[in-house]
């Protein structure tokens, strides 16, 4: 152990004074931002900065775990749920409890004052440090593993059980019982055959007269009897009235086709 105590380098000081105000700003964004997605982004920033601070504080393993678990898994889960619930599900502005906003603000400020005064009044011992830069010292992940799987191995097992329980619990909570029979290919086909007397066509619709009469999708195909087949043109074009009547096509094509390319 370093007998002179912990000396905080200038680099770490600069890092702290750059990151800490940004972290507090992003955390305040959580409080003031309207959309839940923006709040999630603010929280992601806070968590990544926290990982940087961990690494600066001789806890590289926790820094990596912070990035992987918090920003990688937890916040992505938050974003997935936001997409499920609806991104624009904003806060309701009606107050169910009167004056809740001011009471909440007061309690929050009170908590900040209490915590600040406790930190200010507490007498901290001189910092020791974890022997991070010492080449003879044990590197952080190994030493951490020794404590984790030595002194706390029972807690580690319990946490494993907890994780499995949580996963099963989430599955049970979000499971939805099927109320209608499952649709498969056979049932879809049966339903279409049953609807045949109501004028449903079983076969695919005829394709438009592309290449047969013109080079555009808006031309109806001609049936074997020489009549136009209206279903061959896209329904959207028919509703918009943008379908070209077939008898006009040859004249149009003649105008736009050069002499040399015309068929005999």
């Amino acid at each position: 152990m370093n007998p002179a105590g912990l000396v905080i380098s200038t680099g770490e000081t600069v890092l702290f004074w750059v990151i800490a105000p940004l972290m507090v700003l992003a955390a305040l964004g959580l409080l003031f931002v309207k959309r839940a997605v923006h709040a999630a982004m603010c929280l992601v920033f806070v968590m990544v900065s926290m990982a940087v601070l961990y690494i600066a504080q001789e806890a590289p393993f926790l820094g990596v775990v912070q990035v992987v678990v918090y920003t990688g898994a937890v916040m992505m889960l938050f974003l997935f749920v936001l997409m499920l619930v609806g991104v624009d599900a904003s806060d309701s502005l009606t107050e169910t409890i009167r004056g809740q906003r001011w009471i909440g603000l007061l309690i929050g400020l009170g908590l900040a004052v209490v915590l600040g005064s406790v930190v200010a009044r507490a007498a901290f011992p001189p910092a020791v440090g974890l022997n991070g830069g010492d080449p003879g010292g044990v590197a952080n992940p190994q030493a951490l593993a020794r404590v984790l799987f030595g002194d706390y191995v029972v807690a580690m097992e319990a946490v494993g059980v907890l994780l499995v329980t949580a996963a099963v619990g989430a599955l049970v909570l979000t499971h939805r019982r099927r109320l209608t029979p499952k649709q498969n290919q056979r049932s879809v086909a049966d339903a279409r055959i049953k609807a045949l007397p109501d004028g449903v066509v079983l076969t695919p619709l005829p394709s438009p007269g592309v290449y047969a009469r013109s080079n555009a999708m808006d031309t109806p195909a001609l049936g074997p009897d020489g009549e136009q087949v209206p279903q061959s043109v896209s329904r959207v074009l028919r509703i918009r009235g943008q379908e070209r009547p077939a008898p006009h096509v040859p004249a149009d094509e003649l105008v736009h086709t050069p002499e040399s390319e015309r068929d005999a």
Binding site: V74, V85, A112, F124, D151, A167
Partner: protein, 99 residues
């Protein structure tokens, strides 16, 4: 710089997280406030581990992270279930438990 600056930062983040829980109505944002508070305590743990030269603080922070991950999974599943039945993610609308 003194190492207690980290503790002050952790206290500030914890207070902001608590205020978020108290003020916001969207259940998901309230949940994010809880996460912020957990992160703030983790920062305090790591700082005290360094202050005392004892790795136990880091181990505890690790356990907090794991438990927080499990808690997020179950909490978000509850929010999704409530949203499915109520079509709302506002904490004010959840008074089903009222007799």
């Amino acid at each position: 710089m003194d190492i207690t600056n980290y503790v002050v930062l952790a206290a500030a983040l914890f207070a902001i997280g608590a205020t978020t829980v108290l003020l916001r109505r969207n259940a998901i944002v309230v949940f994010m406030g809880v996460e912020l508070m957990l992160n703030a305590t983790n920062l305090a743990f790591v700082t005290f581990a360094r202050l005392h030269g004892d790795l136990t603080g880091q181990v505890l922070a690790f356990f907090v992270m794991v438990v927080a991950a499990a808690e997020v999974v179950v909490g978000l599943a509850i929010i999704v279930t409530i949203f499915r039945t109520r079509r709302s993610a506002s904490v004010d609308d959840v008074n089903l438990l009222k007799g």
